[in-house]
């Protein structure tokens, strides 16, 4: 549980930093061209009269620059590599370990290395730990990704509506967010899962229901700042409708910090699912890292590897997502990415 809270706090911090950056960027936008950035227009030769060829030599677009910054960051690339290994294991699990990982595969409680067929040993019921890890990765990533997706969709819709329209709509939706945020997330999650059947889709939706308020708050703050910008006034003056302004004008500008938050949310969702399974509230029909730790707990003194192996898997996966989040933050936040 501690872990989950720390990561939630990190997400909030990332969100806050983004808010500040957004505010600063808005402030900066109001200033006329000054020299605080040397050669602010060096990338744009005089297109007014320049030959076409000259215009085509312009600097690469922002997205490619962001990708460059991300890929030149060694910790972010390390995170990406770890995540790739985990995802690879998840994808390859049915091929490498075609048998049900919940079935007995050999003699129980063999230590790692004892039997070359079980590189990470077997548990008290003779199940292959490595097969469990690989199949568990499927559940962790699946729950993490879809819970985040659900949280993003709900959070963006609600946050955008509240931030864009303001007034009474904002008051009502903000209260809703606050209600969700005053209830401790994990308790709410347990209640939700207890009410529904503990199946993978139910757990995914329940985690999504716990994580949307954070997204909504961030998106609302972004929208409140962005809707004051002149390009939004220009869109209104051009007769654009609300839907077009929200989704085509403002949302693309509000996304970078949301993407950063999303990577941390995936990590949090994985931790939540593991915690649920550890407590025996997970889907009993699938193997999960959390449930593996849970069943290994009784044998912690004699066979600690049963808890350690899935534990390490969780730590590495969550770490990789946080490294990726940091890398994205640096790449997408122009104020942190060095030279102008």
């Amino acid at each position: 549980m501690h872990g989950s809270e720390t990561f939630a706090a990190r997400g909030a911090r990332a969100a806050e930093a983004e808010d500040r950056a957004a505010a600063a960027a808005l402030g900066a936008g109001r200033r006329p061209e000054t020299e605080s950035e040397p050669w602010p227009n060096v990338h744009a030769p005089d297109a007014a009269r320049a030959a076409t060829s000259e215009v085509q030599k312009l600097a690469p677009a922002g997205r490619r620059r962001a990708l460059g910054v991300f890929l030149s960051n060694p910790t972010a690339v390390a995170g990406l590599l770890i995540l790739a290994v985990v995802a690879g294991a998840a994808l390859a699990a049915p091929i490498l370990f075609p048998d049900d990982p919940l079935e007995m595969a050999g003699r129980p409680l063999q230590w790692p290395g004892q039997d070359p067929r079980f590189p990470l040993g077997t548990d008290a019921l003779g199940r292959n730990v490595l097969a469990g890890l690989a199949h568990g990765a499927r559940i962790s990533l699946l729950v993490g990704a879809f819970a985040t997706l659900a949280g993003l969709v709900a959070g963006i819709l609600i946050g955008a509506t509240a931030g864009y329209f303001g007034g009474l709509v904002d008051d009502a939706l903000s209260k809703l967010v606050e209600i969700f945020q005053t209830v401790p997330g994990f308790i709410l999650l347990i209640v939700l899962v207890a009410i529904a059947q503990p199946s993978v889709p139910a757990i995914t939706l329940a985690i999504g229901a716990v994580s949307w308020p954070q997204v909504a708050r961030l998106v609302r703050a972004q929208f409140r700042a962005l809707k004051e910008k002149e390009f939004v006034a220009a869109a209104r003056a051009l007769g654009y409708g609300h839907r077009r302004i929200i989704f085509r004008e403002i949302l693309p500008n509000a996304l970078p910090p949301v993407i950063v938050l999303a990577s941390v949310t995936v990590a949090t969702a994985i931790l939540m699912e593991s915690a649920l399974s550890f407590m025996g509230l997970g889907d009993p029909n699938v193997v999960s890292w959390g449930s593996m730790i849970g069943t290994g707990r009784d044998l912690l003194r004699t066979a600690w590897y049963l808890s350690a192996a899935p534990g390490v898997a969780i730590v590495l996966t969550v770490l990789s997502l946080n490294l990726i989040g940091d890398g994205l933050n640096e790449a997408l936040n122009p104020r942190l990415s060095g030279e102008p």
């Binding site: 020299e35 227009n41 005089d46 030279e339």
Partner: protein, 339 residues
């Protein structure tokens, strides 16, 4: 008269660009020197370099910044260590920035902020420093200084905040005041008040005033000597009468022709304004004169070699081989009219 500030061949470099090249400039005591240029000319970076306040990625690549201190000794600010620099900054050289809101600390009263400078440099007690703060607010013509001293920056108007910045700047009677676009953020009636104030302080303290601006009207009215910068280089320097009477560099001429004036007969219904075509960005990667791509009188030689600054008259330096060869008869504007 020995110069107060003598900048010699100053270059400022970023890892991938050199926005200021070989700039030389002098300011004497009691003199107002204007450094004029548009964005990208390097004028604000120059100001920061003189105070050694450059951003982390920038550095002084070469050159000297010789400053005559109170005792008459000359030191090179470009090479001074941090401790010595702190003694100079704010005491002998002070600076006023464009945006008075961001240069003031929002959570301290203005009196406190002035008092802190006085205490740091002159070691006064809090009480004496506060009394001095009231005096200084009075000096910069803030009405009811005794009441205003308790105010926080957000309680003051833009003009008042800029006066407070000036009060902080002149708190230790500096010998040189660098004002970087001090009135750009202010309204025209307030701008006149602030310029008037700066000029009065220059006279009273016989300060050197380095005025960095893009506004030619301000320069014409308040500067004694003018240096025009383009793309990191000084292209023309002259006493103000000469610069506005017989400008020689095509860029200077273009700027003067491009500015609509209150006292001229121009109107859009009669004719277009003279334009300088293109933008400063075309200077990037130019081997010769940086202005050549935009210049109406450029010749092949302009693109091949960097023009030298030539003294065409005492105190009048121009970096243009084309127009200096044709002096002094021809004074027509060389900027292209459009339309």
């Amino acid at each position: 008269m020995a110069a107060l500030l003598d900048v010699r061949d100053l270059s400022i470099a970023f890892p991938r660009a050199t926005p200021v090249h070989g700039l030389s400039l002098t300011v004497a005591a009691g003199e107002t020197v204007a450094l004029v240029g548009e964005s990208g000319s390097g004028k604000s970076l120059t100001a920061l370099a003189l105070m050694r306040l450059l951003p982390d990625t920038a550095r002084i690549a070469s050159g000297e910044v010789l400053f005559r201190g109170r005792g008459g000794g000359v030191s090179d600010l470009a090479r001074l260590d941090d401790a010595a620099l702190r003694q100079v900054r704010g005491r002998d050289i002070a600076m006023v920035f464009q945006e008075p809101m961001t240069s003031l600390n929002p959570v301290l009263s203005v009196g406190r902020q002035i008092a802190e400078v006085v205490r740091f440099h002159e070691g006064l007690s809090w009480r004496a420093a506060r009394a001095r703060a009231v005096e200084l607010l009075d000096l910069v013509r803030i009405p009811e200084p005794r009441r205003r001293v308790e105010d926080y920056p957000h309680e003051l108007s833009g003009g008042m905040r800029q006066r407070v910045m000036i009060a902080i700047a002149v708190a230790c009677a500096p010998r040189l005041l660098i004002a970087d676009e001090p009135t750009t953020a202010l309204d025209v009636t307030i701008q006149a008040q602030v310029l008037d104030l700066l000029d009065a302080l220059r006279r009273d303290f016989s300060m050197g005033l380095l005025l960095i601006t893009h506004d030619l009207g301000v320069v014409a009215e308040w500067a004694d000597r003018v240096a025009v910068m383009y793309a990191g280089r000084k292209v023309e320097e002259a006493p103000f009468e000469t610069l506005f009477g017989t400008p020689l560099h095509p860029y200077t001429r273009g700027l003067l022709a491009a500015s609509p004036r209150l006292d001229a007969g121009q109107h859009y219904s009669v004719g277009a304004l003279a334009e300088i075509r293109g933008s400063i960005a075309s200077a990037a990667g130019e081997r010769g004169c940086a202005f050549a791509p935009r210049c109406a009188v450029a010749r092949t030689l302009c693109r091949d070699a960097l023009p030298e600054l030539d003294a065409v008259a005492p105190g009048h330096l121009v970096a243009c081989p084309v127009t200096t060869a044709a002096i002094p008869q021809e004074e027509a504007h060389h900027a292209t009219p459009v339309g």
